[in-house]
């Protein structure tokens, strides 16, 4: 009986806090996506040849964790098969957040756009922890003669 109560308690916690965190996160993602629309992220390997840009490798990464409710729901869906919606939202959040962090780095470097975007997803399994890491990286193209001060950021590679 005790075990059942704990289980239900955890489930409620996961459902309540997980949903709240997700809503809050999506709100902030959409807000920042509008802000960073000026810096397009382009998956092409070939940069425009007409201007000579300065370049800088930029990257952004996020580790997101599943919540208890999501884990249990996903385990149940797993029995019958089908679309695992709870995890889709989770990975979508991580991906968009990573791209935004990458764009922030690009913006700090005074870039116009980011080329050759590569995305990478990996499962981080620390014991029982169900978490995924999403990394987004690309080359920021900085127009010449901008006097933007390159701020210190997470990946100090432009030396």
């Amino acid at each position: 009986m005790d075990n059942l109560l704990i289980f239900i308690g955890l489930l409620m916690c996961g459902w309540f806090f997980g949903r709240r965190a997700e809503k809050k996160h999506y709100k902030s993602i959409i807000e920042r996506e509008h802000k960073f629309n000026a810096i397009p992220a382009i998956a092409s390997r070939f940069p425009p040849a007409d201007t000579v840009y300065d370049q800088k490798l930029v990257a952004g990464s996020t580790v997101v964790s599943s919540d208890y409710f999501k884990s249990i729901t996903a385990a149940m869906i797993n029995i019958f098969g089908g679309e695992v919606k709870p995890y889709e939202a989770l990975i979508d959040r991580a991906r968009r957040e990573s791209i935004l962090r990458m764009k922030l780095q690009a913006k700090n470097a005074g870039a116009d756009m980011v080329f050759n975007i590569k995305m990478e997803t990996s499962a981080i399994s620390a014991g029982k922890i169900g978490a995924i890491e999403v990394l987004a990286y690309g080359t920021a193209l900085i127009p010449p003669n901008t006097n933007t001060v390159i701020e210190a950021d997470n990946l100090n590679v432009a030396t």
Partner: protein
């Protein structure tokens, strides 16, 4: 040192290919942090501790690659790729590789 994941750089010319350079770093968090992340796993949300860990790790791997590129006399590394793999519970390996080249303007 110019680092880029493009293959062609407008306005620059590759005069010498110096081969593959690479760097890697394996890191883990201490048990306390793992425990806290375990609790976070009930409530959901971002695991900031791990985000930082992997970022530091990536930075170190990039530094190692840059050092290797310098030692072979390159002034740029092109076509850089990152890769992550979890090799044991609580530890992740970050691997970064690219082509070391000598670039000149024009």
């Amino acid at each position: 040192m110019l680092l880029s994941n493009l293959e062609i750089l407008p306005g620059k010319q590759v005069v010498k290919h110096l081969g593959l350079v690479q760097g890697s770093s394996v890191r883990s968090k201490h048990a306390g942090r793992d425990f806290l992340s375990g609790i976070k796993n009930i409530f959901g949300g971002e695991l900031t501790a791990y985000t930082e860990l992997l970022q530091d790790s990536r930075e170190q791997a990039t530094e190692r690659m840059t050092a290797q590129a310098k030692s072979v006399g390159a002034n740029a590394v092109l076509n850089i790729r990152f890769s992550t793999s979890s090799i044991a519970a609580g530890a992740a390996e970050i691997y970064v590789y690219g082509t070391a080249v000598e670039l000149v303007d024009g």
